[in-house]
């Protein structure tokens, strides 16, 4: 916040500013106070350092904190008498520790608090020793106040179209536009020596497309050391690691202005010059993170006359790195074309602060300014002289002018926008506005890579004026709402299966090779980058996931499972045959009431659910067919045939499959292709007369071979009755004594009726006679007497 206030002196509390920026589209995710847990730490002078009587590692330090002396036990011995150090006395709060400090007996000596390392004070990650403060720090001063650490950090989510917000300056511009507090002018002055940079080095850019601008400045005679404490604190709070004064200066300038910068040790560049070129295929480079990278001719590198020394816009290399002995620095401030940086960064899996900024679009006008700021900071923090001028290759592109029609803005926003409003908005943003031919023209600065089309400017108008000022209106919709047939079908399927007593489950769309093998499906569609190597295919069936779900339920002690899923499955097609499938599974005890005998789910529960589904969809023309291969029990399953097409299967799973899924009871499943059912989906219902004349009821039991399918007998019985058969119900299936071995008895309750009169017993008997004769001929069935 203090940094932001240096650039835009706004007088708002961090939370207020956060809210204001958020509604203007600069999303402040959180306000962080890194030094909230710091209090009572004071600056003290070391008077004496001596050995701890009972420890080889520890030592004792006596310090003067301005209003008295204290003795402390210290773990490292990097400070010497006369040094200034941060002292946390009893009662002081240190960010790294959860509770206030107290007097503590450490190996027989009472320590009156502690001396702090930079990490303990959240200044940097350095925990190698006690922080030794600059000699001009006043003894007794409050550490937090003196170094300005009573500060807050705005954590901002940067949207990919606004790379300009990846800098304090960028955010300050938004603050200025939101609060109308003018920006403070930036000081980009540099004290230069008489020697000119161009006489010291050369820069050759071989690919001006990928690197339209390269600015190099030279700083001679630097002394590498730590950067000022306050700078370290700001870098740490911004999520960067303080390294050394030179490196910190480049990072600090980048964070402030948005220009990524890179310092090279000039002595390590052979040929005193920079060549910007494409890498050779297979060229290798060890980057600063100590990883050897193999490059391709797609990658742009910064090279000297012998070797590549950096991957352009991504990361520098170890061989040309600034090190503690560095004296002369070549400072790179360039503009790299975004796509190239992004491709290289992505291919290498290497994302850096620089590649993020270049990849999303840095400001092509910025390199000279960034170089100036960083040079000044280096000279200020590391000493040395900045050579006059810069080696500057390429140039900034001319600024674009974009026009916006206020009438169009009004039409898109639903909010009246005048010429004056447009002018005001862009002037608030610090952009130049012209009005040559009655239309409003805006000059787009290099940092606003997001402003291109008229509609981008219209968004700026809405954003700066605030979305909250818009009215809430509704479009005049002149159509009734409704559902696409596929969606209506899916809802009907769910409705039918819920009514059939199944609970809806969902499962991921992925499958393993084992799942496909289980279903007897050959090859499925492969995923190039699967979430798990195990499940690298798209599902071809909903059944494996239902079996897995049943296993999970049973393992958790849930005995009765009745589930369904409706979802997409994927088969090979041209290239993909994506279908809607519906599947159900029932296993374990059917949850009847306490009064009913307990029974387990079996084939007929799955078939019943399927019947309910078909009924719900109005599909009448369907039947069961021969058993299918796959996970099914060969003698307790069937194909499902609708209108002559095989559209699914119903049945108990093979006992071996049940065993594989640890399911102790029979498992009944069904799966049908809803997409093909959709073609038969018919809901129109036509009223038929309710019978007004009483029917004659007869119970008929026939004995026939076991193998005769009941469904066929039922069908034939209806036909044989000569139009007099009404409802027929199969009420009994029986085999065993007194029925001969290999035969069975089927009992039918048959209703005989005529639509226009009461049927006589004689007429019913006639129909029964016809049925008996027909069943005898077709199935060798005999009417059971009695």
């Amino acid at each position: 916040m203090s940094w932001l206030r240096e650039l835009c002196p706004v007088d708002l509390a961090p939370d207020e500013l956060g809210t204001l920026l958020t509604v203007k589209g600069v999303h402040v995710e959180a306000v962080i106070r890194p030094w909230e847990g710091l209090a009572g730490v004071v600056v003290a002078r070391v008077l004496e350092v001596r050995d701890h009587p009972n420890s080889d590692k520890l030592c004792l330090a006596r310090v003067d904190h301005g209003s008295g002396e204290r003795e402390l036990v210290v773990g490292v011995r990097n400070m010497k008498p006369g040094d200034l150090v941060p002292l946390a006395g009893p009662g002081a709060l240190v960010p790294a520790l959860p509770a206030p400090l107290d007097r503590r007996n450490i190996r027989g000596v009472v320590s009156e608090g502690m001396l702090c390392s930079p990490r303990e004070l959240a200044i940097s990650g350095d925990h190698g020793g006690i922080l030794v403060l600059p000699a001009d720090t006043p003894v007794g001063a409050d550490f937090k106040d003196h170094f300005g650490l009573d500060d807050a950090v705005l954590d901002i989510e940067i949207e990919p179209n606004r790379p300009d917000l990846m800098s304090v300056l960028g955010v300050a511009r938004e603050v200025a536009a939101a609060t109308r507090v003018p920006l403070a002018p930036l000081d980009l002055s540099v004290r230069e020596s008489d020697h000119r940079a161009e006489n010291a080095v050369t820069v050759e850019v071989r690919d001006l497309q990928r690197c339209p601008r390269y600015v190099a400045r030279i700083i001679q005679g630097v002394a590498i050391g730590p950067s000022p404490l306050r700078v370290q604190a700001r870098l740490t709070a911004s999520g960067m690691r303080p390294v050394s004064n030179v490196v910190d200066a480049t990072n600090y300038a980048m964070l402030e202005m948005g220009q990524p910068l890179h310092p090279f040790d000039l002595a390590l560049l052979s040929g005193d010059g920079i060549v910007v070129r494409l890498a050779e295929d297979g060229e290798r480079l060890v980057t600063l993170d100590d990883v050897e990278r193999s490059l391709t001719s797609e990658d742009l590198v910064i090279a000297d006359h012998a070797k590549a020394v950096a991957i352009a816009g991504v990361m520098g290399s170890a061989p040309a790195e600034v090190h503690p002995g560095t004296r002369d620095v070549l400072l790179e401030s360039a503009y790299f074309e975004p796509k190239g940086v992004m491709r290289t960064s992505r291919r290498l899996g290497l994302q850096t602060e620089a590649s993020l900024r270049f990849g999303r679009g840095a400001d092509p006008e910025l390199p000279p300014k960034g170089a100036a700021l960083a040079s000044r900071l280096i000279a200020e923090w590391a000493g040395g002289v900045v050579l006059a001028g810069a080696v500057d290759v390429g140039e900034a592109p001319a600024r674009r002018w974009r026009s916006v029609r206020p009438a169009r803005a009004s039409a898109v926003l639903g909010d009246a926008v005048s010429d004056g409003d447009v002018r005001e908005v862009f002037e608030q943003l610090g952009l130049r506005v012209g009005q040559p031919n009655g239309e409003v023209q805006v000059e787009i600065p290099g940092y606003r890579v997001d402003l291109d089309r008229e509609v981008d400017l219209i968004e700026e108008i809405a954003r700066v004026r605030g979305y909250d000022r818009l009215d809430s209106t509704l479009p005049g919709i002149k159509q009734p709402g409704g559902m696409a047939p596929t969606y209506a079908l899916r809802r009907t399927v769910r409705e039918a299966l819920v009514r059939a007593g199944l609970r809806e489950a969902i499962s991921l769309s992925f499958a393993s090779a084992g799942d496909l093998a289980l279903m007897g499906h050959g090859d499925g569609l492969r995923v190039a980058n699967p979430i798990s190597a195990e499940e690298a295919l798209l599902r071809t069936s909903l059944v494996p996931a239902l079996l897995g779900a049943a296993r999970r339920n049973v393992a958790r002690g849930v005995r009765g499972v009745s589930l369904f899923e409706v979802g997409h499955v994927f088969l090979h097609g041209d290239p993909v045959d994506e279908r809607e499938s519906a599947a159900g599974l029932l296993t374990g005890p059917a949850d009847g009431s306490v009064m009913d005998p307990e029974r387990a789910f079996d084939f007929f529960d799955a078939k019943g659910a399927l019947e309910a589904l078909m009924k719900g969809l109005g599909v009448r023309d369907w039947r069961t067919g021969a058993a299918l291969p796959g996970p099914y029990h060969p003698a307790r399953s069937a194909g499902v045939i609708a209108g002559g097409d095989l559209i699914g299967a119903v049945g108990e799973v093979h006992p071996r499959v049940a065993e594989r899924f640890d399911l102790p009871d029979p498992v009944a499943i069904f799966e049908v292709d809803v997409s093909s059912l959709g073609r038969r989906f018919s809901r129109p219902v036509l009223y038929r007369d309710v019978p007004r004349f009483p029917a004659v009821h007869r119970d008929l039991a026939f004995v026939m071979d076991e193998a005769v399918p009941a469904g066929t007998v039922l069908e034939t019985l209806g036909e044989a009755g000569g139009g007099r058969v009404g409802a027929v119900r199969l009420f009994d299936v029986f085999s065993g004594s007194p029925i001969p071995q290999g035969r069975k008895s089927l009992g039918f309750s048959v209703e005989f009726r005529a639509p226009d009169r009461t049927l006589t017993d004689e007429e019913a008997d006639e129909a029964v006679g016809a049925i008996v004769a027909r069943l005898a001929v077709e199935f060798g069935a005999e009417l059971r007497s009695g």
Binding site: V23, G25, H27, P160, N161, P338, M342, R346, G359, R360, V412, L413, V455, D456, E459, A462, R463, L470, D471, S472, T473, L474, P475, I477, K478, Q479, P480, G481, M483, A484, T486, Y487, R491, R494, L497, V498, R499, A500, G501, R503, E504, A505, L508, S509, L525, A528, N529, P530, I531, A549, R552, N553, S562, L563, H568, F570, E578, A590, S593, M595
Partner: protein, 362 residues
């Protein structure tokens, strides 16, 4: 006038009646079964009863006495009959009650009902959402889950190398010769398919699965759900988007909800916005659900980018439109108080059965 030569005189008769009345009432009261009642009736009013004797002797009395005794006879008979019938009714009621009592059941035993099914909580929330839009005049459409780069990215103004494209953890298919195939990362490709299929006006909502290459955690799944909305017509404005989202979110989450649009970036809309709704748990005061800010993100939205309209051959000068997309997994979690997103995917019967009573507005 001579005294009547009757075996009983009138005083005697009256006395007998009173005695018989008292005796009768006593017998009736003592009757504990219907048979006792029958017996009492015979004993008191039967042909051989003293009462009947008095009745029979009435004719022998003088006229005045006959009237007096006769009246009393009637009174006594009526009283006795009333008592008998009352007792009979009471005993019959008792008998019926004890018969019914033998049929007593334990009414606290669970009822016998058909096995119950239920919709998945995500389906319930999806229905609520699309049903609101259907009432507002939108048509519900669906699209494929396997998409191509054109529909998922290019046509949506997300060219190759665009940061927004590389930021999405896209799951690609491995189909030889078809590197453009992927699992859709959002429901937005249906904007393109819908517009490719016809001319404006377009008012659709698209529910469906979307995919990202993300690890399974308590908050994230590689598969989740969105509803996309698209309105393209003449004269559609950003204010229309605001009003539509406001109407929708209030219908879904309560009429007291406040809505705000925050400028935001999505390549296929411009101006772009993030829609936020005042937290329906704490009503904007700040709570755990809204991470203390009082607002819940409810989706991305904006005016359809002219480049998108151009990609499908619509004239962006003539037509404008808005689009929005919202994930509803988190909404379902907040709505039902589900702490871990993985519960939605475990198919645990004890989880699923909890949503049985959840009303679905149709």
């Amino acid at each position: 006038m001579a005294a009547p030569s009757s075996p009983i005189d009138s005083e005697q008769a009256l006395h007998t009646l009173d005695r018989e009345l008292a005796r009768g009432l006593e017998m009736v009261a003592a009757a504990s079964t219907l048979a006792d009642v029958e017996q009492a009736e015979a004993a008191i009013l039967g042909r051989r009863s003293p009462f009947s004797e008095v009745q029979r002797a009435l004719g022998d009395l003088s006229e005045e006495s006959r009237r007096r005794v006769g009246q009393r006879t009637n009174e006594v008979r009526n009283q006795l009959r009333e008592a008998l019938s009352g007792r009979r009714t009471a005993l019959e009621a008792e008998r019926e009650a004890s018969l019914l009592e033998a049929d007593r059941i334990d009414v606290t035993l669970p009822g016998r009902r058909p096995r119950s099914g239920s919709l998945h909580p995500l389906t319930i929330v999806q229905y609520e959402i699309v049903d609101i839009f259907m009432r507002m005049g939108y048509r519900v459409v669906e699209g494929p889950e396997v998409e191509d780069e054109w529909h998922n990215f290019d046509a949506l103004n997300i060219p190759p190398d665009h940061p927004a494209r590389t930021l999405m953890d896209t799951i690609y298919l491995d189909v030889p010769g078809r590197p453009e195939l992927l699992l859709r990362t959002h429901t937005s490709p249906m904007q393109i398919r819908t517009m490719e299929a016809g001319q404006p006006p377009v008012y659709v909502v698209v529910p469906g699965r979307v995919f990202r290459n993300e690890e399974v955690t308590a908050k994230n799944m590689p598969v989740f759900h969105q509803v996309e909305g698209l309105a393209v017509d003449e004269g559609i404005t950003l204010a229309d988007l605001k009003g539509t989202l406001e109407t929708f979110l209030r219908a879904l989450l309560g009429q007291d909800r406040r809505i705000r649009l925050i400028p935001s970036f999505f390549p296929f809309v411009e101006p772009g916005a993030q829609a936020e709704v005042s937290c329906f748990v704490c009503d904007g005061a700040g709570c755990k659900t809204c991470a203390g800010v009082g607002w819940l993100e409810s989706g991305g939205a904006g005016m359809v980018h002219p480049a998108v309209l151009e990609a499908v051959g619509y004239d962006p000068e003539r037509y404008t439109g808005f689009a929005f997309g919202m994930g509803y997994d988190r909404l379902a979690m907040i709505r039902f108080g589900i702490p871990d997103i993985r519960l939605l995917w475990e198919s645990d019967m004890r989880f699923l059965e909890q949503f049985e009573g959840s009303a679905v507005t149709v």
